[in-house]
Amino acid sequence: MKSEIEKLLEPGELSLDGFTGTDTRTIDEIIAADREKFKKLEITIAAIIKRLEELEEAGKDIMEREKNVEGRYTIKVRDDRGPMPNPTGGKPLRKGDITLKDNQSGKAIKYNDLTILMLEKFGFCSGEGSEYRLDPQILKEVLF
């Protein structure tokens, strides 16, 4: 039986494509596998969230223009009108996306308030094939 949060992360609930991608694993399996990867890479979720939030703050622009940050990243913060429901019941989340490109490695990640919350609360990095997938290895390469 799927939890309410699992259902909300599926396509067509909070967004058209959802957050599970093409991954056939359960959310618990995805979380467990990523937890192992974080352990091997010796990085903590708290450190990742701190970097994601720092870069979002540095890349904010009220007209949503791309910004270069830290001489290394190109960031675009999209800021949409309207609230996004918070699956954990807290304050509504900001609607929009942060696209972060590491110009050194050429790798990019996409995240938003919901994916940060899922990472923080459950260690969920989105499923393989999701445009919001925060792969631990890529996070380490891009953020540090």
């Binding site: 067509g12 009220i62 007209m63």
Partner: protein, 334 residues
């Protein structure tokens, strides 16, 4: 028979106790605003329950403050009942209902904003205040299993009957905006509910500053039309519209015409990302342009509509120029 008694008996509904309060109200054409489909996540379907109903749920304890809970506020989607329930609703919500409309026009306003006109059913009228919003329902399409609704500000002139206009910006992977941009066709029937919201022009003698970006132009356009219709010409109104490039501007001719016809109204588009701007546009961020225009805003009122980031930035500039917080209004749904 179990009843829902609304506003001291102003309205009494027969209830289906298998359904929660939100579903019961909706079945009787009283559609409360909601962004989560009745899952207790958005906190928007608040009602005051005077008597009856279950105890507040865990979700309500997260969404409502102790004061709200103490004053009997509940989330309708979390409220179940097996005996009569007495509730209080703002009058405007009793007036809100659903309308099966026909898509009459779809226009490309920019590369990511469409103008949409919905024709109301024959003989039906929606009483709304300029600045309010409606919820537009996208039916299940593609692989989606159920319908979804989202809030959009009305862009039309409240005096003109029979239709409602909207400017809808594409949200990448957004369920409703993808429907509007990629699937909806002229002649389709689409369900709208509302009107909702307390973003409307306040009675005052103060001059007005409108600031908008993107689809935030919608309620401002509606408010300007309302000022014209009501003959409000003793308040100067400057409309600052922020955009990145010329490609992000729309309805320029319309606002220039309004400006020429009404001396109290001025339209000031501002481009933040063009190296060269002509005489027709200001250059810079909308906050910089507003900052340049005014030295003292203590006798003005502002209406803001755009992204949360834009609203926050404008709020700071306006307050810095002496505008009282109580004179700054913006869409709560934003």
């Amino acid at each position: 028979m179990v009843q829902i008694i609304i506003n001291n008996g102003e309205k009494i509904l027969e209830a289906d106790t298998e359904k929660n309060l939100l579903e019961n109200l909706s079945a009787n054409d009283i559609v409360l605003p909601s962004a989560c489909g009745g899952r207790g996540l958005c906190g928007m379907c608040k009602v005051q329950v005077k008597s009856g109903g279950n105890a507040p749920t865990e979700k309500e304890e997260k969404k409502l403050s102790p004061e709200q809970l103490g004053n009997s506020w509940r989330l309708a989607c979390q409220t179940s009942f097996t005996t009569d329930i007495t509730i209080e609703l703002p009058g405007q919500l009793i007036g809100s209902t659903t309308y099966d409309c026909t898509v009459e026009e779809i226009t490309d306003l920019t590369y990511d904003i469409k103008g949409v006109r919905f024709r109301l059913p024959d003989g039906v009228d929606v009483q709304y205040q300029a600045g309010q919003y409606m919820q537009i329902t996208a039916p299940a399409y593609g692989n989606l299993k159920r319908s979804t609704y989202r809030a959009y500000s009305i862009a039309s002139n409240p005096q003109e009957k029979g239709y409602l206009d909207f400017c809808i910006r594409r949200v990448p992977k957004g369920i409703v905006t993808t429907y509007v941009h990629d699937h909806m066709k002229i002649g389709d029937t689409v369900t709208l509910s509302g009107p909702y919201g307390d973003f409307y022009l306040r009675d005052s003698s103060k001059d007005i500053i409108f600031i908008a970006g993107g689809s935030g132009l919608s309620p401002v356009q509606s408010m300007v039309y309302e000022m014209i219709a009501k003959g409000i010409s003793d308040r100067k109104a400057n409309f600052f519209f922020g955009a990145c490039t010329y490609n992000d501007l729309f309805y320029v001719d319309k606002f220039r015409t309004l400006e020429n016809e009404h001396p109290w109204f001025k339209y000031i588009p501002a481009l933040s990302n063009e190296d060269i701007t002509g005489d027709d546009c200001e250059s810079g961020l909308i906050t910089e342009v507003v900052d340049r225009y005014y030295s003292d805003l203590s006798n003005c009122q502002a209406y803001l509509c755009g992204s949360p980031g834009m609203i926050n930035a404008c709020h700071q500039v306006l307050e810095h120029k002496g505008m009282d917080k109580s004179e700054i209004f913006y869409d709560k749904f934003a």
